[in-house]
Symmetry: C2
């Protein structure tokens, strides 16, 4: 627990590591390194473990080999492994080889797991005993263990001779059952665990669904390899859930507001080009009717209204579907119900907005014909927007793609193309029939 | 811990409450009630506590008074209070009065706290002792307590005679320190707590920033009133973080994909009307230049491209800023750096896309003039998009509004108005200067 509410004016070493990291995040890299080496080593390591990936990588490049070494030795294993992950293969090897053999082995093992898997998040230090140990023995063992590793323990794990997880014992049972009994006698065999290669998004969903406070992690042979706590999963859960916001508009999930622009250009420009290609598609529809617009230029004024309203309504539908998917509240079977709901909404909103647009078109341009065409196109486009807002994410999922990926670009393509087409085709029909009379 | 991996084909009573709730979420309300009363009471209550708000409210309306009463008595207090919150004032009073006096008092107290505050999430059952109690006494007390309330305890709270929180004692200290010592002697006085009226979004941020596994909750007189665990905060954290996705496009944060359409119409239509008003604003800009378009109808073809690209680029910027704010990674002081980054990106992307559009305009319409005008307008609009993507959310924050609120509507207003104006004004200037020659 932190000592006090953090204050920016206090000297760094009185702050909680997370707040020191906030400060180190904000200053120049060289200044941050200078501050870091001035801190007590344990605190420096703890603060370093709280830094964001990008910044941690920057600072590591500036640290001397022995500073890096002492930092890694003071960090919990998962954080140390994360940091090593930012180093280039060569430098990583060099740093690893400078560490004590046991730590080296532990970290190499952790480095084998992808950063976004249970193995990449879990802590590989946990308390496990064989089932033939008596409660008295276990208590005696815990009593002599260093403080930090048992502080927040509420369960002990029981493993067989092959290190496979076979049960859990609560602290309560450990303390209150007869001391001569063995772990095997008091343990609960119905123990829920997760696989080390489980994706962190799925892991977060498990924690949320079942309200776990902690879960043991096992490898493909059921051997206990680590523990994940709910507090480790919180940041992951938020990041994963909000990643979709960025994917929708054609951003990499990893980009942050302060990611250097040099790195952002290459990530954003390709999607802007995709959007441009779809914009040309929509423009080609307008081009088909250039003759119609030449005869009736007021159409050009209403063109963006019909398309833009479709885009906004479609984004409402799309966003709600993608958020529900991210929160794990929508199963594939719910697609039909959502489609029906959105179609009804699209029709109602379409008629309401179509009426307003129709009236404004009539009054503003003194043309009931324009009002009629704009209003009718609006109804049709709101419906198209609603349907594509549901069908795009469910379709992407069916194709085993991320439902959010660039979905807003695809959606506005539909609403632009459909909006332009409905509006201009109706206008053109109208002109033709009026010309016939 | 759940017994086994849930399977849809299993009878309901063998499932984890969270999975039963999933099933009850999907069937007809009357069917769900029938299933519910068939379950063992404790399990029914647990499953009910896992239902989503909307569904829970529906089912409660269908339950008889005594069924509701027994459900509430079997639920943990926070869930019971949440459920009571869905009832109308009159029915709530009636149900409350049917409950045992002590439970009634507890629930009335919890009902006083807003649902989205620490008080609305916390569990009001916790273990607190006075500081003069010996460790032996406390252990004896815990030994005789019912199992469920101490199962996941890793800290005990110490309060003074006025029930004010003065310290915590870890399970480790309780078990391993000399039994004749008092809590006051072994407790840690540096105890972090949160206020009962703290907003759940801020609470989630505290948990995430400091990796707490649990936090005590105190009222305005520092009296201990409850405890919040990291596992309680997970769902809240995800919901709060993703709420912004919906706010951005003019959706209520509470709406879900399967919210009945009757309720959605009233929430979405107003924002669609706001969007319509801004669309008319953009249309008015086009209207200013109707004469220009009449003379040069190819402009109508390129009009949506310039505006649409601005909209997409602006949404990228806006989304990244809002996500960073939601993740708590962006402080007000970072605004200037983000603005600079986005301006640089807007310029680079603008020039790249402006060149493509210019070339296409030239080749497609065989008009270098059109290419020049479209390309130049594109550069200017990409810059406007980048700046407004940063300034809108930071501006909203400065005005103490939610930075996400309808921000995508405001953003596309800027990119439409600016895009149309830059493009048509440049074209008009061009026509005029060409006419002068």
């Amino acid at each position: 627990m932190p000592e006090a509410e953090p204050m920016v004016t206090e000297p760094l070493h009185t702050l909680h590591p997370a707040d020191i990291a906030d400060q180190l995040q904000r200053c120049e890299a060289s200044e941050a390194v200078a501050e870091l080496v001035r801190l007590p080593p344990k605190l420096a390591a703890a603060a370093f473990g709280e830094l964001e990936a990008e910044r941690a990588g920057e600072l590591m490049a500036l640290l001397e080999a022995d500073q890096l070494r002492s930092l890694l030795m003071d960090l919990p294993h998962p954080e140390a492994a994360d940091l090593l992950g930012y180093l280039s293969g060569e430098r990583r090897e060099e740093v690893l080889r400078s560490l004590p053999a046991e730590l080296q082995d532990d970290l190499r093992l952790l480095l084998r797991y992808p950063e976004d898997s249970a193995g990449g998040i879990m802590n590989d230090r946990f308390i496990a005993f064989r089932e033939d140990r008596s409660l008295a023995e276990v208590l005696q063992h815990l009593r002599t263990r260093p403080v930090d590793s048992t502080e927040e323990v509420s369960y002990l794990y029981v493993t067989d001779p092959r290190r496979r997880l076979i049960g859990i014992v609560s602290m309560r049972d450990l303390v209150f059952r007869k001391p001569e009994r063995t772990l095997g006698e008091v343990m609960n065999r119905e123990v829920k665990s997760v696989r080390v290669d489980m994706d962190q998004e799925e892991l977060a969903r498990e924690f949320e669904h079942y309200h776990y406070l902690g879960l043991p992690v096992v490898d493909d042979r059921q051997r206990l390899v680590g523990v994940v706590k709910a507090s480790d999963i919180l940041q992951v859960a938020k990041e994963e859930a909000t990643e979709d916001m960025q994917l929708m508009v054609g951003l990499s999930g990893e980009e942050r507001a302060l990611t250097p622009w040099q790195r952002s250009v290459g990530r954003r420009l390709p999607w802007l080009c995709v959007n441009l290609a779809t914009a040309f598609l929509a423009a080609a529809v307008v081009n088909l009717f250039e003759g119609t617009i030449a005869r009736w230029t007021a159409l050009a004024v209403f063109l963006p209204i019909v398309a833009g309203q479709g885009g906004n309504a479609g984004m409402q539908t799309l966003t709600i579907i993608i958020r529900d998917m991210a929160l794990g509240e929508l199963s594939p079977g719910d697609g039909r119900r959502a489609l029906f709901k959105e179609a009804v909404l699209g029709l109602i909103n379409g008629v309401a907005i179509g009426l307003i647009v129709g009236l404004v078109g009539w009054v503003w341009k003194d043309s009931p014909e324009l009002g009629l065409v704009a209003g009718a196109a609006m109804v049709l486009n709101q419906l198209a927007a609603a349907l594509s807002g549901v069908l795009i994410p469910f379709g992407m999922k069916r194709l085993h793609l991320d439902p959010a990926l660039a979905s807003s670009i695809f959606l506005t393509t539909v609403t632009d193309v459909a909006g332009f087409f409905f509006f201009l085709a109706l206008a053109s029909l109208f002109l033709r029939s009026a010309g016939m009379h």
